[in-house]
């Protein structure tokens, strides 16, 4: 069992330095170098051709939209777009790579430098970090291997593996940060915030759905510790495929604690690839990089250089949408909410749905309440992002309207939400089908009230005697009689009228 140092102690004794490598799978219709479709979840090896299978004689041809997406990502990250760059072959053998080399970019990436500002919640409020970008480059994804026999799904102890090349050749943009320093104990939060910000960025650009659970946005976490901020960088570990925002945070925390314990015990960190295990929240050692691999990069002779004209680049700049940070500032102002409230929305991934709900006529306050309250609770129950619940912002807006109009109580509204999520149709259909409407027909209410009054003369006396708060008992009885479908406030008013008690009293 690896021993860990408590996080706070580790932070007292060491200074963490982060490096993040994010692979974004582009949402192009076809692969990077061939015309095969990229749809997720197709039957194995049904989306392959001579090129993405690496059949002898086949050749790659670059997907224009993939290049445009790479340039737009670069522009959104404030990077320099190369005037001229080449693809390169990264040579290494692995069965999920059909050619036994990956077409990537080496010393001539399409986008160089840049930065991304990320907001990190702290005790003293939200703090903005500027994460410096090293580069962004284009490459192709590998196939998917599944390991058979042994401990199911694990590579260790498997008897053999099966390969599906549908994913091989799907366009990837790899975005690499410069070393991120000066975070101290905020390192895990910064890492999470960076990946979240990058995700909303590429989503806003419309270049990727960036679903981490489907692997269309994958993060490698490089972390090292040093005794103090002015000490030279320590040896780093590279934790691969950390594929959820929560895991990014946990993985950084774990590596900090592991390395701190190691160093404190006089040990040394080995430069190695480590695997992140979502289930256990641990990282385990993989390939050691002590003798660094020799990828024998060289310019890809089957592809000609990419030389984006400045005019093309400016045209693409013109297609950039409102970027997430700008949009957040706008919404914060429009809705008049605090940094903290905004951060909650962002962390919950609810900004978009709330905006849409408001656009459908709901008040910002009500929309935030529903998405951060009841709906977030249900999302947690189901272990999905709130935005992924099978309910439309328009539905939520309609439910809010029904409540505001007095047609639903909050309690009933929650039942309507449940019905919509259960696939029973639109809010109005659910209301009708489940017969969920506030009883507002006075005569029906008055009947119930008279019955209660007749049944409990003593309480009635108390109320008439001025003990108005005793009315609660009778109101409760009426609500019971109407199976909770009455509006309690209204019942109270009618009851007191009935008993001739002065409301102001």
């Amino acid at each position: 069992m690896t021993d860990l140092m408590p996080f706070d102690e580790a932070m007292d004794r060491f200074d963490p330095v982060l490096g993040l490598e994010v692979h974004v799978e582009l949402g192009t219709a076809t692969k990077m170098f061939c015309g095969c479709p990229t749809a997720f979840g197709a039957a194995p090896n049904t989306q392959t051709c001579p090129t993405c299978l690496g059949l002898p004689g086949s050749l790659p041809v670059v997907n224009r939209v993939a290049v445009e997406s790479a340039i737009r990502i670069g522009l959104a990250l404030n990077s320099e777009i190369a005037e001229w760059c080449r693809f390169a072959r990264k040579n290494y053998f692995y069965p999920d790579m059909p050619k036994d080399y990956q077409i990537s970019q080496y010393d001539e990436p399409i986008a160089v430098g840049g930065w991304l500002d990320v907001d990190v919640p702290t005790d003293e409020g939200v703090r903005t970090f500027r994460v410096q970008i090293e580069r962004a480059h284009m490459e192709e994804d590998t196939g998917k291997t599944s390991h058979q026999g042994g401990e199911t799904g694990r590579i260790q102890g498997a008897d053999y593996s099966l390969v599906d090349y549908n994913r091989a050749g799907i366009p990837l943009i790899e975005i690499v940060t410069k070393p991120i320093e000066g975070m101290g104990a905020l390192a895990p939060a910064v890492a999470k915030a960076y990946v979240a910000e990058l995700r909303s960025l590429v989503q806003a650009l419309g270049v990727s759905d960036a679903h981490m659970h489907q692997g269309s946005l994958r993060c490698d976490v490089n972390l090292s510790l040093r005794p103090s901020p002015d000490a030279p960088l320590g040896t780093r570990s590279e934790t691969k495929n950390v594929n959820s925002l929560r895991s990014v945070e946990r993985a950084v925390r774990y590596e900090v604690q592991r390395q701190a314990a190691l160093l404190a015990a006089g040990g040394r960190v080995v430069q190695e690839t480590r695997h992140w295990h979502e289930d256990t929240g641990l990282t385990t050692p993989g390939r050691s990089k002590e003798q660094a691999e020799d990828y024998r990069y060289f310019p890809e002779p089957d592809l000609v250089p990419v030389a984006p004209s400045r005019q093309w680049v400016e045209e693409l700049r013109g297609t950039l949408p409102e970027l997430p940070s700008v949009r957040r500032q706008r919404l914060q102002a429009e809705w008049g909410i605090s940094d903290f409230e905004l951060q909650n929305l962002v962390n919950a991934g609810a900004l978009g749905v709330v905006e849409a709900t408001v656009a459908d006529g709901a008040s910002p306050a009500a929309a935030r309440n529903w998405w951060l309250g009841e709906l977030s609770r249900l999302a947690n129950e189901r272990g999905v992002e709130v935005a992924e619940l099978p309910i439309f912002p328009a539905d939520v807006a309609r439910i809010i309207a029904l409540v505001d109009g007095g047609r639903l109580t909050d309690k009933l509204a929650r039942q309507v939400v449940a019905g919509v999520l259960a696939g029973e149709g639109s809010p109005d259909e659910v209301v009708a089908a489940r017969g969920l409407r506030v009883v507002s027909d006075d005569s029906a209410l008055l009947e119930a009230i008279d019955a209660v009054v007749a049944a409990d003369p003593d309480v009635v006396e108390k109320i008439r005697g001025g003990k108005v708060q005793a009315a609660g008992v009778l109101v409760g009885a009426v609500m019971k009689a109407t199976r909770g479908q009455a509006d309690a406030a209204k019942v109270r008013t009618l009851l007191l009228e009935r008993l001739g008690v002065d409301l102001s009293g």
């Binding site: 059949l55 053998f93 069965p95 059909p98 036994d100 024998r296 592809l303």
Partner: protein, 497 residues
Amino acid sequence: MTDLVTATAADTAAAVASGVVSAVEVAQAHLDRITAVDPAVHAFLHVDTEGALQAARAVDARRAAGEPLGPLAGVPLALKDVLTMEGVPTTCGSRILAGWRPAYDATVTLRLKQAGVVILGKTNMDEFAMGSSTEHSAYGPTHNPWDLDRIPGGSGGGSAAAVAAFEAPLAIGTDTGGSIRQPAAVTGTVGVKPTYGGVSRYGLVALASSLDQAGPCARTVLDAALLHEVIAGHDPYDSTSIDAPVPPVVEAARSRDVRGLRIGVVHELTGEGYQPGVQQRFDEAVQLLTELGAEVVEVSCPHFPYALAAYYLILPSEASSNLAKFDGMRYGLRAGDDGSRSVEEVMSVTRAAGFGDEAIRRIILGTYALSAGYYDAYYGSAQKVRTLITRDFAAAFEQVDVLVSPTAPTTAFRLGEKLDDPLAMYLNDIATIPANLAGVPGMSLPVGLAPEDGLPVGLQVMAPVLADDRLYRVGGALEAALLDRWGRPLLEEAPQL
């Protein structure tokens, strides 16, 4: 030997088009010729009898229906086994691809089919086109029809021998450092390496992607031009394919006029190291060109002496990467998979069992040249030499329209003679390699027999990028003049098989 197999492609096409003979008769005559002589020559690795007859029938049917026929419809052709043909075995002369039947056609193959060319089968070659003698084929060597104890050149020895032995009037070869031109030279046939990017590489199993180029093999310059025109032209499936009109090669082959043409003899590609008989026939041919009205001058290309060294760094580097995919996982040979070995071990056993010595030698050499500590000194420097050689050509083509040299330093040597001496083997390509490094087109055509051994000698013509037509202009004129002088085609001097 029937007239059907000795006829030129141009005449055969005309005869088929006019109905004088059927495409099926022509195909059958060649299949019979193959049955008769290929046991001795071994030009073919696979003969697609049924496919060939089917294609021939289709041509006859189109003619019967009065549909238009392409310029080579009904003409038989031998396809180098490095180009894919759907459903037909493609081995690249290697054990590692034994039994592989591609699921797709190379663009060249497709264009041949669409033109009504009748593909007889796949021809022998040095493994993955690595060699100059076809002795590095996993399936045994091809023999030179002029002397069965001698090599037919390489890597495309099978294609050249098939044409020289009248097993096919046409063949497709591929040329990475001379693999079309050097076999043409030593078999007394015509071979052309088009401008790089002039003919699609899609479906050509890559040796060195930045050097490989497919091209025509034939017995006459006009036949080569007709084939060139069928296979050339832009292909969206090949990013390095040039999007420009095909040079007017057929017209040029027919013009046969070199008056006023400026021809440069490359100083660095003559004299020392060239067999006397080769040099003699070359000089006579150059003299003949002067008599035909060309202006001949000597030009210097000072960096050509470095071409061979640069080539043997660039080629292995690219090859080591191109040949990585042969790992026994998706197609071809898998060896040693007894359930105990890991994927890395099975790949290593498979590749060691599937590749021959020369392939392994070049893979190791390329792996070395690309590896971290040595990249700049080897691969990097080689790419600089490539720049210098391109500049040499540019400077030369400011003084002259075409360059000429002997195609190969010697005539066909004996089988086995250089098998254990890689460097000696590599020297065969000394004159052909510069054109590949610079991407310029080159042609080899026969200019006689060396007095000392009575074996064919080839002359190489080189032209600027996309000026392939100049090769055919010079080749056509020289060929005609030599025919006048000899009274009959050189190949008729070859011994009967």
